[in-house]
């Protein structure tokens, strides 16, 4: 296809936009004490935090998929004001400053919280300060991205595929798993990537709701924050390691998953 030449103005604006992302990154890379990077990587604190971060963000993405896809399905078939209200509610965790999100989670699921107090009295279970709390905080903050992407995918889905499947005798679950989910794959995948990225960088809600304990709730962003306090260079290195890991995963997965359909 022959397109009109892109005017310089568009190119310049795009370049400015890209610079806004690239310059800070360049700043980090220039200032990072690369000689220490390997030492940092060998540090058990780093590897533990990295492992926990990856575990928590993937688990949170898993929960977001489990709860978010059904939620998006309900949203997509709701009509009128109710839908706008539900949608706005889903967008809330994005507007809420994460620290307040953490406080809100404490008020709901903490030892004295609305639901948490019942759990504590009945089973002696306390959610905060556990890895489960970190996963929950990340799910809370990151799930909206998945829900919004999947809902958009559902709205643009051609429902005749599902109808064809039903008329071929497929019941709900067969249609859902063999037709709906595969057709939604691009939307689910891009939503999951956004969700995962957001969960990986989550800090405010996690520290407030789950606290900070190495190996249990200390994810990389929290470790980075602590390192900023005592050894800022290490913090920068740690952030870069997080970036490299996530970029590698992003580039690696995108083609494999989005390319196929």
């Amino acid at each position: 296809m022959r397109r009109a030449k892109t005017p310089a103005a568009i190119g310049i604006l795009a370049a400015l936009g890209l610079l806004l992302f690239l310059l800070p990154l360049a700043g980090l890379i220039v200032r990072a004490p690369w000689s220490q990077a390997f030492g940092e990587l060998a540090d058990p604190t780093t590897t533990t935090a990295l492992g926990l971060s990856i575990f928590c963000s993937l688990t949170a993405t898993g929960f977001a998929l489990l709860l978010g896809i059904p939620l998006a399905m309900i949203l997509a078939r709701t009509r009128g004001t109710l839908r706008n209200v539900l949608r706005a509610l889903t967008t809330l965790p994005m507007v809420l400053p994460p620290v307040v999100g953490g406080v809100a989670l404490l008020l709901a699921f903490g030892r004295r919280g609305l639901v948490g107090s019942l759990l504590y009295q009945a089973f002696g279970i306390q959610i905060p300060f556990t890895t489960a709390a970190a996963v929950m905080a990340e799910t809370f903050v990151a799930m909206p991205f998945l829900v919004i992407a999947v809902e958009a995918g559902l709205l643009s889905l051609d429902h005749r595929y599902e109808e064809a499947a039903r008329s071929l005798g497929a019941g709900y679950w067969r249609v859902f798993t063999r037709v709906t989910l595969p057709l939604l794959r691009p939307a689910i995948f891009s939503g999951a990537v956004l969700c995962w990225a957001r969960a990986l960088g989550e800090f405010g809600a996690t520290i407030t709701f789950a606290g900070n304990f190495p190996g249990r709730t200390q994810t990389v962003p929290i470790a980075v924050y602590l390192a900023l306090e005592t050894k800022p260079e290490a913090a920068i290195t740690l952030s870069l390691i997080l970036l490299v890991v996530s970029v590698a995963i992003l580039i690696g997965m995108r083609d494999r998953w989005l390319g196929a359909l």
Binding site: V103, L106, L107, G110, R111, R112, Q126, P128, F129, I207, T208, A210, G211, N212, F213, P214, T217, I222, Y225, L226, A227, L228, E229, T230, P232
Partner: protein
């Protein structure tokens, strides 16, 4: 008398970078100074954020730190004008829920099983001091969380998630939602709060520093739970 000593005239407008925990007394001090013609603008944040900002070239006249280590960082970077002065101390206290339902009377009680204890991380000053205090008392606790800020400890106790923690006296005074259990002086650690005017600060900086060190300033700080110098 004149709180700023000699050579203090006219209208000034200064910028103060101060640790977030200093907000209640410093806001009062600013109100008093404004009546005298000096307007102070504050940038309250965690000490380490302020340090990062200053080393990256932030323009400020006064820096009030919650510990000496960060002040030292700035001195080493050649950003401090003159010698920093300690303007307040803060002692540690055990923070518990209102009415002390768990009956905690000393550091030794923190080692009890079934008690959810939250401390600050050893890499932040409050955490480092708490660690020292526990060492002096010969107590080993298993904290549920190592908070990044003292306020994290405070709010977890205030919200009932934790049964006890170790914070500064001033935090408990400011909060009003929790009770404090004193730590004997032989186990306690005293935190120093240094203040300094910065390179290229103008004259108003001295007025602010002097007021903080004056009797009036010290009274305000004491009311907020700090110990004077």
């Amino acid at each position: 008398g004149n709180p700023c000593g000699d050579g203090c005239h006219g209208q000034f407008s200064i910028t103060v970078f101060a640790a977030a925990s200093l907000q209640p007394p410093f806001d009062t001090i600013a109100a008093r100074l404004r009546a005298l013609g000096t307007t102070a603008t504050f940038n309250y944040a965690g000490t380490q954020v302020l340090t990062a900002q200053l080393t990256q070239g932030a323009q400020a006249d006064v820096f009030a730190s919650a510990d000496t280590a960060h002040m030292k960082t700035l001195e080493d970077a050649g950003l401090v004008d003159g010698t920093p002065q300690v303007f307040a101390h803060n002692k540690l206290e055990i923070v518990v829920a209102k009415g002390n339902p768990k009956g905690i009377h000393g550091l030794a009680d923190l080692a009890r099983t079934g008690l959810v204890v939250v401390l600050a991380d050893p890499s932040v000053p409050a955490g480092k001091y708490a660690q020292q205090a526990l060492q002096k008392a010969g107590v080993t606790v298993h904290p549920a969380s190592l908070e990044l800020q003292v306020t994290g400890v405070l709010s977890k106790v205030a919200l009932g998630e934790a049964d006890a923690g170790i914070v500064y006296v001033s935090d408990i005074v400011t909060s009003g939602k929790v009770d404090g259990v004193g730590i004997p002086d032989d186990q306690n650690v005293i935190a120093d709060y240094p203040i300094a005017s910065l390179k290229s600060a103008h004259q108003g900086a001295r007025i602010f520093v002097n007021f903080v060190l004056s009797t009036d300033g010290q009274t305000i700080l004491k009311a907020a739970g700090f110990e004077g110098v």
